[in-house]
C-alpha cells in the first residue's frame, strides 16, 4: 500500500484543519470530504482513506465533530459529519497558530533566498 509521497500530509494537524474547514462550509459524508479537498486544492492535496477514517474517529473522540445518521437519495444508509462548537473553536485557534507559523516560515525562506 505504498503511498505517493507527493500526496502525504504535510504535518500533523494539517489534515484535521482541512477536514474542519471543509465541514465548516457544510456537513458532509466521508467520500464527499475527499472529493471536496481534492477539488478545492486543485488536485494538489489528495486525502488518503487510510488517514481520513482514523482522523475522523479521532476528531469524533475529541468532540470536534458529530456524526449524523441519514439516508441518501438512493435510499442507502449514510453518515454525515458536522462541526461542533468545540470543533469550531479548535479550528479558529489552529488557524491562528498556523498563520503565524506560515508567516514565520515565509520570512525565514525569504532571508535565506536573499
Amino acid at each position: 500500500m505504498a503511498k505517493n509521497p507527493e500526496h502525504r500530509d504535510l504535518f500533523p494537524g494539517a489534515l484535521e484543519i482541512m477536514i474542519l474547514q471543509s465541514l465548516r462550509l457544510k456537513p458532509m459524508h466521508g467520500y464527499a470530504l475527499v472529493k471536496h479537498i481534492k477539488a478545492v486544492s486543485d488536485n494538489l492535496l489528495q486525502v488518503e482513506e487510510g488517514s481520513l477514517y482514523p482522523a475522523l474517529q479521532r476528531m469524533l473522540r475529541e468532540g470536534w465533530l458529530e456524526s449524523e445518521t441519514g439516508t441518501s437519495a438512493k435510499g442507502r444508509p449514510t453518515r454525515i459529519y458536522k462541526l461542533t462548537n468545540a470543533g469550531l473553536r479548535h479550528l479558529e485557534a489552529e488557524v491562528v497558530s498556523f498563520e503565524k507559523m506560515f508567516a514565520g516560515i515565509t520570512r525565514v525562506l525569504a532571508v535565506a533566498r536573499a
Binding site: 500500500m1 466521508g30 487510510g50 477514517y53 482514523p54 475522523l56 474517529q57 456524526s67 441518501s72 453518515r79
Partner: protein, 897 residues
C-alpha cells in the same frame, strides 16, 4: 462512568464507521460507472483505490481503544480459549508451575524473614554482638560463639570505649516462680544496665530498669515478657507495682515489654536486672552475651579495633584474687570479633537456607524447561497457523507477543495457584524445620513473598515462553507452507532446541540428586555414630534447680537431690536413675577449666582447658554410658569427699596410653589443690552433637570441695538434670508420677524441660534431617521432571518420524534395532547431561561441605550411583515410546498424510 459510556458508545461508532466506508466505496464505484466502467470492474477498482478496508477499520477503531491493552486482552481471550480446548496440557503446565513457584515462594519467605529482613529493633543495623576470639582459651571459646564477656570486661569496655552509644551484657536462665498459681519455671533474662537502651524498644506498660534497679543493694525489680503477662496475668495493666517471687526472691514488677519483643532470639517470661556488684568483681567468669549499639557511621571492625586497645586496661583494672597473675589472659590471645547482631542471630543456618533456596531454584529451572518443552511441541503443531499469520503481515513482534502473552498467562495462573501451595508449604516447613531455626516466629507469607511469587511467575513465563519465540517468531515464509509433512524425517534444527533443554534438565537433575544422596549418606553416617549413651528413647531427663534462698547449705542440696533420686527409683518401671550438671547434646556445658595430669609438664606452665561435668552415682548406668575400666562413684565416695574422679576414654588414652592404665593415676585442677585419683574410665560421649567429635571430659562427683572459693568449701551443682531409665519414659502417667515424686521431697521444686534423650538426639540431627528432607524432595521432583522431559522428547520424535519408521520397516529394519535407535538417542542426551552435571556438581558440592559428615563432597559412591540411576531412568523413559515406534504398521505409516 465516562469510561463505561465510551465502551457502550463504541458499538455505535463502529457501526458508523462501517457505514461510512461502505458508502465511500459505493459512491466511488458509481462515479466510475458514470465514467463508463462496467459495474464489476468499477466496484473492484473502487475497493482497490480505497485500500485495505479491514486495516483502515482497525486503525480507525483503535482511536476508541486503549489499543495496546485491548489487543493484549484479545490475545488473552484467545489464549484462554485455546487452554480450555486442551485441559490436559493446561493442567500439566499449571500444576508444574504451581508446585515450582509455590516451593520457591515458601523457601523465599523463610529466607526473607530469617536472613534478609532487619531485626525488629529501631535502627537495627547499628546493633552488634560483642563476642571475642580467643584461640588460646581451648574449648572455652570454641563451643559457643567465641569467648563471651565477663562482667568486669563489660564495665571496662562500656566506660572507656569511643565507638558505642551504649552496650550491655545479658544471660538467660530458667527461674522458679512461686506465688502465682502452681510453682513453675520461667525463661528468665538477667540484663545489665545498657541492654534495654541498646535494643531501644519502649515498654508497653510501666518502665525500663533504671540505674537504681541495677544497684545490688537497691530494690529488687522485674519486667515481664508480653506472652507471660498475657498467660499468667491476663494482660492486666494493674500488675505494675505488684510483687512476684522469682527464685524465692520477692521482686516488684516495674514494666511489661511489648508483643513481639525478644531478647535477641529468646522468648522470655521475666527479665531481671543483673545488679553487678563492683566490689566483688574479678576478671572471670566469661559467660555473658554482650550487645552494643554503635555510634552512627561506625563499622563493627572499627568498634573491634577500639575495644582491642582496652584489653590491657581490663587486665590492669581487675584481678582473679591475690596471688594470681591478671595478665595470664594474654595467653588466650583475646581479640574482639564484633559482628552485626543479625549475623550472630542467623548463625550457621544461613548455609542450610541458601542451599535449600538454590535447590528449589534449580527445581524451578527444570520445571520451566519442561514447560518450555511442552510449549515447543505445541508451537510446532501451530506452526502452520503462525506461518500463515506472518505471511498475512503479522510482524515478528506481533507473533512473539502472542506467544509471550500465552506463556506469561500460564505463569500468572500458576502463580495464583502457587500462593496456595506456598501457604501450605510454609506451615509444613515451619513444622518440619529445625526448631532452633532463628526468628521462627517472624516467618510469614507477607507482601514481599507475594511480590516474589508475582515476579517469579512473570519471569518464568517470559523465560519458558521465549524459547518457542526464538524458535518460531523468526520462522519466515521461506520455509513456510512448504508442507513439512512430506519430508521423511524431522529436520535437525527442529529438534535441537528440545534436545538442549533435555540435556540441561538431566544436568540439573543430576546436581540435585547428587546433593540429596550426599545428605542421605551423611545422615546414614550419623546414624551409625555411637553417641556414648544407649537406647535414648527410654532415658527420661528432667531439670531441677534448687536455688540458694530455698536451701542455703550446699551439702543439703546434694542430699536433697539424692533423696529425689531415691524417690524416683521407687517409681514402678524405673530401672536406674542418676543426675549430672548436664546431659549430652543438651546444648549446655557445666564447666570448662584447666586440669593438670600428675607428672606431666605443660608448655608455658598452663595446661589446656577441659570440659567438666558433675555426676551422681548411677548416672552412667541410667544413661547407658559404658564403664570401660575401673568403677563408678558411690554415695559413700561422695559424702566422704574422697577426691575421686572419672575420665573419658579419649582423655585416658591421650594421657596414659590405655583406659586400664588410667585407673589409679592422679590429676588436679590448680596446683594448690589436693590430687584427685582416677577411679574409672567411661566411653566417649558426643557432648555437642553427633556430628561433633567427642571432647575429653573429666567427671567430678556431684559433691566436692569447690576450688573457686577461699578457703575451699563444699559445693555441688544446684541445677542438675536427672536421667531416668525406664520403659515408660515419655508417657503421661510416668511424668505425673515423676512430678509427685519430686514434690514429695519439696513442693516448691518445679520440673523443667522434661525431655527424653531421644529428643536431644533428634534435635542434634535436626538440621541434617531437614536439609535431607528438602533435598530429597527436590531431587525426586527433579528426577520425575527429567524423566517426563526425556519421555516427552522421545515420544514426540517417534510421532514425528512415523513415516521414516515405516520406510525403515518396509526396507527390512529389525524392530529391536528400531527400539534401540530411540533408546540410544535418549541415552546420548542423558550422557551429555550427565557429563555437564557431574562437572557442575563437583564444583557446587564444595559449597555443601559444611553440611556433610564423614562423606567427601566428591563421594565416589554418589558420583557413580546417580549417573547410573539417571541412565536407567532415561532408558525406561525412552523405551515406552520406542516400543510404540516398533509397533508401527509400515502400510499405515506410509499412508498417513
Amino acid at each position: 462512568m465516562q469510561i463505561l459510556s465510551r465502551i457502550f458508545d463504541r458499538r455505535r461508532r463502529y457501526d458508523d464507521l462501517s457505514v461510512s466506508i461502505q458508502e465511500h466505496i459505493e459512491l466511488r464505484a458509481e462515479e466510475l460507472m458514470e465514467e463508463g466502467m462496467p459495474r464489476t470492474e468499477a466496484e473492484r477498482t473502487a475497493r482497490r483505490e480505497f485500500g485495505n478496508v479491514t486495516q483502515i477499520k482497525e486503525r480507525s477503531r483503535e482511536e476508541w481503544q486503549w489499543a495496546w491493552l485491548e489487543s493484549i486482552l484479545a490475545d488473552l481471550k484467545l489464549v484462554l480459549r485455546r487452554l480450555k480446548k486442551s485441559p490436559g496440557f493446561a493442567a500439566t503446565i499449571l500444576l508444574t508451575l504451581a508446585i515450582g513457584i509455590g516451593a520457591n515462594t515458601t523457601v523465599f519467605s523463610v529466607v526473607n524473614c530469617v536472613l534478609l529482613k532487619p531485626l525488629p529493633y529501631p535502627n537495627s543495623g547499628e546493633l552488634v554482638d560483642l563476642s571475642l576470639n580467643a584461640p588460646g582459651a581451648g574449648g572455652l571459646a570454641s563451643f559457643a560463639s567465641g569467648l563471651q564477656l565477663s562482667p568486669s570486661m563489660f564495665l571496662t569496655f562500656s566506660e572507656n570505649n569511643k565507638t558505642f552509644q551504649s552496650m550491655g551484657i545479658w544471660t538467660s536462665s530458667r527461674s522458679n516462680v512461686t506465688g502465682v498459681g502452681q510453682p513453675h519455671q520461667v525463661n528468665a533474662e538477667l540484663v545489665s544496665d545498657g541492654v534495654l537502651q541498646t535494643l531501644n524498644v519502649p515498654a508497653t506498660a510501666g518502665r525500663w530498669f533504671t540505674a537504681a534497679d541495677q544497684d545490688p543493694r537497691g530494690a529488687k525489680t522485674a519486667i515481664l515478657g508480653y506472652g507471660y503477662w498475657q498467660r499468667r496475668f491476663g494482660g492486666d495493666r494493674g500488675v505494675i507495682g505488684r510483687s512476684i517471687q522469682v527464685d524465692a526472691q520477692t521482686r516488684e514488677i516495674v514494666g511489661v515489654m511489648p508483643r513481639g519483643f525478644r531478647m535477641v532470639d529468646n522468648d522470655f517470661d521475666v527479665m531481671m536486672p543483673m545488679a553487678i556488684d563492683r566490689s566483688q568483681l574479678r576478671l572471670a567468669p566469661f559467660g555473658y552475651s554482650g550487645m552494643g549499639r554503635l555510634k552512627p557511621g561506625i563499622t563493627p571492625a572499627q568498634a573491634s579495633a577500639d575495644v582491642a586497645r582496652l584489653l590491657p586496661l581490663w587486665m590492669d583494672s581487675w584481678s582473679n584474687g591475690p596471688g594470681t597473675n591478671p595478665h595470664y589472659y594474654e595467653r588466650w590471645l583475646i581479640s574482639p570479633n564484633f559482628q552485626l547482631l543479625k549475623k550472630q542471630v542467623i548463625g550457621s543456618v544461613s548455609n542450610v537456607l541458601w542451599v535449600v533456596m538454590g535447590t528449589v531454584g534449580l527445581v524451578m529451572l527444570i520445571a520451566c524447561t519442561n514447560v518450555a518443552n511442552l510449549l515447543l511441541v505445541r508451537a510446532e503443531s501451530r506452526q502452520q497457523e503462525l506461518l500463515i499469520r506472518s505471511a498475512l503481515g503479522a510482524g515478528r513482534a506481533r507473533i512473539a507477543r502472542e506467544l509471550l502473552v500465552e506463556s506469561v498467562t500460564l505463569g500468572l495462573m500458576g502463580g495464583v495457584l502457587a500462593v496456595g501451595v506456598a501457604y501450605a508449604g510454609l506451615r509444613l516447613l515451619t513444622a518440619i524445620g529445625p526448631a532452633d531455626l532463628p526468628r521462627l516466629s517472624e516467618i510469614s507469607l507477607d507482601g514481599g513473598s507475594l511480590l516474589f511469587a508475582l515476579l517469579l511467575s512473570v519471569f518464568s513465563g517470559l523465560f519458558f515462553g521465549s524459547i518457542p519465540v526464538f524458535r518460531y517468531a523468526r520462522a519466515r515464509a521461506a520455509t513456510a507452507l512448504m508442507g513439512n509433512s512430506r519430508t521423511a524425517s524431522a529436520s535437525r534444527s527442529r529438534n535441537r532446541s528440545r534436545n538442549v533443554l533435555v540435556v540441561a534438565q538431566v544436568a540439573m537433575a543430576l546436581v540435585l540428586l547428587v546433593s540429596a544422596l550426599l545428605m542421605i549418606r551423611t545422615f546414614a553416617a550419623l546414624r551409625t555414630v555411637d553417641p556414648g549413651f544407649s537406647d535414648a528413647a527410654h532415658v527420661q531427663t528432667v531439670g531441677i534447680w534448687i536455688p540458694d534462698l530455698l536451701e542455703p547449705d550446699a551439702e543439703q542440696v546434694t542430699r536433697t537431690q539424692n533423696e529425689i533420686a531415691g524417690r524416683i527409683a521407687a517409681i514402678p518401671g524405673v530401672t536406674s536413675v542418676g543426675f549430672a550438671g548436664g546431659v549430652p547434646m543438651e546444648g549446655f556445658d557445666p564447666n570448662w577449666d584447666e586440669l593438670r595430669v600428675e607428672g606431666k609438664n605443660y608448655e608455658g606452665g598452663e595446661p589446656p582447658l577441659m570440659l567438666f561435668n558433675y555426676v551422681s552415682p548411677g548416672f552412667f548406668g541410667a544413661m547407658g554410658t559404658r564403664i570401660v575400666a575401673g568403677r563408678d562413684f558411690t554415695w559413700d565416695d561422695n559424702y566422704n569427699l574422697r577426691n575421686n574422679v572419672v575420665v573419658s576414654e579419649n582423655f585416658a588414652r591421650d594421657s596414659w596410653g590405655s583406659p586400664a592404665a588410667a585407673v589409679g593415676k592422679r590429676v588436679r585442677q590448680f596446683t594448690n589443690m589436693p590430687w584427685q585419683q582416677v577411679i574409672g574410665v567411661v566411653e566417649d560421649v558426643r557432648q555437642h552433637g553427633l556430628d561433633q567429635p567427642a571432647p575429653a571430659i573429666l567427671y567430678w562427683p556431684a559433691m566436692l570441695m569447690s576450688p573457686y572459693t577461699r578457703p575451699p568449701t563444699i559445693d555441688g551443682p544446684r541445677a542438675v538434670r536427672f536421667a531416668i531409665r525406664s520403659n515408660r519414659a515419655g508417657t503421661e502417667g510416668f511424668l505425673h508420677e515423676l512430678q509427685q515424686a519430686v514434690w514429695s521431697v519439696n513442693p516448691n521444686l518445679p520440673l523443667a524441660s522434661v525431655q527424653t534423650m531421644r529428643d536431644f538426639l533428634s534435635k542434634s540431627l535436626e538440621r541434617t534431617s531437614f536439609t535431607l528432607v528438602m533435598l530429597a524432595i527436590a531431587g525426586s521432583m527433579a528426577l520425575v521432571l527429567g524423566v517426563i522431559g526425556i519421555y516427552g522428547v522421545i515420544s514426540y520424535s517417534v510421532s514425528q518420524r512415523t513415516r521414516e519408521i515405516g520406510i525403515r520397516l518396509a526396507l527390512g529394519a529389525q524392530k529391536s534395532e528400531l527400539k534401540w535407535m530411540f533408546v540410544r538417542s535418549a541415552l546420548a542426551l542423558t550422557g551429555a547431561g550427565v557429563v555437564i552435571g557431574v562437572c557442575a556438581a563437583a564444583g557446587l558440592m564444595q559449597l555443601m561441605k559444611s553440611l556433610l559428615f564423614s562423606v567427601s563432597p566428591l563421594d565416589p559412591v554418589t558420583f557413580v550411583t546417580v549417573p547410573l540411576v539417571l541412565a536407567v531412568a532415561a532408558m525406561v523413559a525412552s523405551y515406552l515410546p520406542a516400543r510404540r515406534a516398533s509397533a508401527v504398521d509400515p502400510v499405515e505409516a506410509l499412508r498417513v498424510e
